[in-house]
């Protein structure tokens, strides 16, 4: 089985889906000749032509609005937002249309499209090349939201996303685009919507996280094991909406302690919802507070981004605090 990074795995997923189904088209700024600024769409234009691999004018509103039309007519557009930080011009199209056309039309029209985009921090990208806006999409209702943490999942999840009849926001943590390498089958496989994964077993504290933070949590777990002799159980949510509540509950039944780690700002980051869900439905499982280790409630900074983001020290402190109860 070939070893690939996430960019290659995503590229392969697109290629396979386009070969399988001629309704699948790819579009976005610079996705054609340029192959995307991260090369996720590299080579597709040569294979499928510029009618199916469409370079767009510079307007995210246009990309999403136009894709909705393609999807309404039965195509399966996979639209790229060059960096998710630029998606906001399209927010009306996403919120009021992509997420609401099924409802508005009483179920007569659907929007089977994928909006994929590099997200998150860790590349010294500053305010507008680093953000993690999953909360905006989750609170919108009407969208699915996914974020893979490695090449294998990336390929399988993107295929799932493309085949779903509902619209999907597909977020790709760019800091690990080329860092993590894994064996990726050149066969067809998908990964179920809504299924997380326990990526590290441990009996003391449950850490729920996703995207690049999965790897940080793992690093922190090693450090914490060494320093405190404490075992973290790490859950990679993979699908952010609808998230895998059962996996969290199962782990909490064992540990009774919950830490949520994400890059988005704390205030109304997805951690808030998970915490509130547990505090509402499973408060009896808890030994102590639910702690959130997240981006701070400020814009994403260029200076000292690694101090702004969750890091090993912050997870270590959170675990210590969690164990105090």
């Amino acid at each position: 089985m070939p070893v690939m990074n996430m960019v290659q795995a995503l590229n392969l997923a697109l290629r396979e889906e386009m070969e399988r189904d001629d309704r699948v088209v790819v579009l976005g700024e610079d996705v054609g000749r340029r192959g995307g600024v991260f090369l996720v769409t590299e080579g597709l234009i040569d294979l499928f032509g510029e009618e199916r691999v469409i370079d767009t004018p510079l307007t995210e509103l246009g990309i999403v609005g136009f894709s909705i039309g393609l999807a309404l007519y039965g195509l399966r557009p996979v639209a790229e937002i060059q960096f998710i930080d630029f998606v906001y011009e399209a927010f009306d199209q996403i919120y009021s249309n992509m997420a609401r056309i099924r409802f508005r039309s009483g179920g007569m029209y659907t929007v089977p499209m994928v909006l994929r985009s590099p997200c998150c921090g860790g590349i010294k990208g500053g305010m507008h090349h680093s953000q993690s806006p999953e909360s905006f999409f989750i609170h919108s209702t009407g969208l699915y939201v996914m974020m893979p943490s490695g090449p294998y999942d990336a390929k399988g999840m993107l295929k799932t996303a493309i085949r779903l009849d509902d619209p999907v926001i597909f977020l790709e943590p760019k800091s690990i685009y080329r860092v993590i390498k894994e064996e990726v089958p050149e066969e067809d496989y998908t990964i179920d919507l809504g299924k997380g994964k326990v990526v590290r077993e441990g009996g003391d504290v449950t850490v729920v996280t996703w995207g690049a933070m999965v790897h940080l949590a793992n690093q922190a777990a090693d450090f914490i094991k060494e320093k405190l002799g404490v075992e973290l159980e790490i859950i990679d949510l993979r699908t952010l909406y609808p998230y895998d509540k059962d996996l969290i509950i199962e782990s909490l039944e064992k540990t009774g302690r919950l830490i949520i780690v994400h890059e988005a700002p704390k205030i109304l980051g997805l951690g808030a919802e998970i915490s509130a869900y547990i505090a509402e439905e499973h408060v009896d499982l808890l030994y102590g507070p639910i702690i959130r280790v997240t981006g701070y409630d400020t814009p994403f900074p260029l200076a000292h981004e690694k101090l702004y983001m969750p890091n090993v020290a912050r997870i270590y402190n959170a675990v210590k605090r969690s164990l105090e109860f």
């Binding site: 469409i54 609005g65 136009f66 249309n97 508005r104 039309s105 009483g106």
Partner: protein, 374 residues
């Protein structure tokens, strides 16, 4: 980059018309069959009648809100040359369009009253659409549908079909990003879409001069490389003629086209509006002289295709027809109480399932105590 020729400019800055305001021919008479001409008039009458009924039902507290179409009935001329398989993205003010596409007065009333037969399942007010007629329900945020229509047209071209898409919107909508992106994409990709801007002079209280300083919406179309024309939008023959050409060209050459329909909203913006705050009664009276039905009727009468009394009879016939339909629609049951949980996703995610439970508990409590909620 394209160059701009004199003729394109003229089309975008002058106003194409066939009939003057008294129904006299002033342009080239289009060759339209007699039966089509009469049918066209009938649609306009039906739109006028239905408009009056929706206003009445709103005053009676039965319909939440209505956006009157009085004065803009000549829009039917733009849709009549379409095929049923072509797609239409109407505006919210387009009663005539819904009718031409095959929607019945019954269905429009079921929708307006969102009863059990509402095809849109009580999702939103003052919008209409149905997949059966290839007519997508209008998003209430003004202009949202414009890039959708361009995407649909692209997909038609991509599939190698000889279909076209038509999308309607107001003059106010041209200020939105949706218009800008939609027109630009249409120009760049050359797709078979016809934009119909119903420039009725007002966006609620904002007059066109305050909406934009552009010489015309049609001129603006040229600035996206989209051929454009300005038409007397109260002249249904002009609308029909221009639309037919645009549709045929789009079908054959995959070229987008913009039609600026110069018209006037004779009623209030919606039933929630009070136009006396921003425009004079005189202006409206003056504009009544140009209204499309009277003008077209004169032409038909002069042509011997209809008599005044036949026209009156038509109006009366549809009035009683709609009265009956309204009675029927009002007697239907409301939608199921839990209707809004469905049609968000193709299946219910776990949080919606849990919430549906909570909802059912609430219904029990409501019934237990006889609480008034709905």
């Amino acid at each position: 980059m394209r160059s701009i020729d004199r003729k394109s400019l003229e089309k975008a800055l002058e106003t194409y018309r066939v009939l003057d305001e008294d129904g006299n021919l002033v342009g080239e008479e289009p060759s339209i069959s007699d039966s089509t001409l009469v049918k066209m008039f009938e649609y306009m009458v039906r739109a006028r009648v239905l408009d009056e009924w929706l206003l009445k039902l709103q005053r009676l507290g039965k319909v939440a809100i209505h956006a009157p179409n009085k004065g803009q009935e000549a829009i039917v001329g733009a849709v009549m040359p379409l095929r049923p398989e072509d797609w239409v993205f109407p505006s919210y003010r387009d009663l005539g369009v819904y009718l031409v596409r095959g929607m019945s007065e019954e269905e429009i009333l079921d929708r307006a009253l969102y009863n059990e037969d509402d095809p849109l399942k009580g999702s939103d007010f003052a919008i209409y659409g149905n997949r059966k007629y290839n007519m997508v329900p209008t998003p209430v945020p003004v202009g949202n549908q414009i890039p959708h229509a361009v995407g649909v047209a692209y997909a038609m071209k991509y599939r190698g079909e000889d279909l076209v898409t038509m999308v309607m919107f107001g003059d106010g909508a041209t200020s939105r990003g949706d218009f800008h992106a939609g027109l630009n994409f249409a120009g760049v990709y050359r797709v078979p879409v016809i934009f119909v801007c119903e420039n009725n002079g007002w966006a609620i209280s904002v007059p066109f001069e305050r909406q934009t300083r552009s010489p015309s919406i049609a001129f603006r179309g040229l600035a996206y490389g989209v051929d454009s024309i300005r038409v007397d939008g109260n002249d249904v023959l002009a609308m029909y003629t221009v639309a037919k050409q645009a549709i045929e060209r789009a079908r054959k050459d995959k070229e987008p086209y913009l039609i600026e329909m110069l018209t006037y909203r004779l009623g209030s913006h919606t039933t929630a509006d009070d136009p006396s705050r921003y425009r004079s009664e005189e202006e409206v009276r003056e504009m009544m002289r140009y209204e499309p039905l009277k003008r077209f009727k004169r032409y038909l009468v002069d042509k011997g295709l209809i008599t005044e009394s036949e026209a009156d009879e038509l109006y009366r016939r549809y009035s009683s027809y709609v009265e009956e339909a309204a009675k029927k629609a009002l007697n239907k049951s409301p939608l199921p109480r839990d209707i809004f949980f469905y049609n968000v996703y193709s299946t219910l995610p776990w949080n919606l399932k849990m919430q549906l439970e909570e909802f059912r508990e609430a219904i029990k409590t409501i019934e237990e105590f006889g609480l008034e909620v709905d």
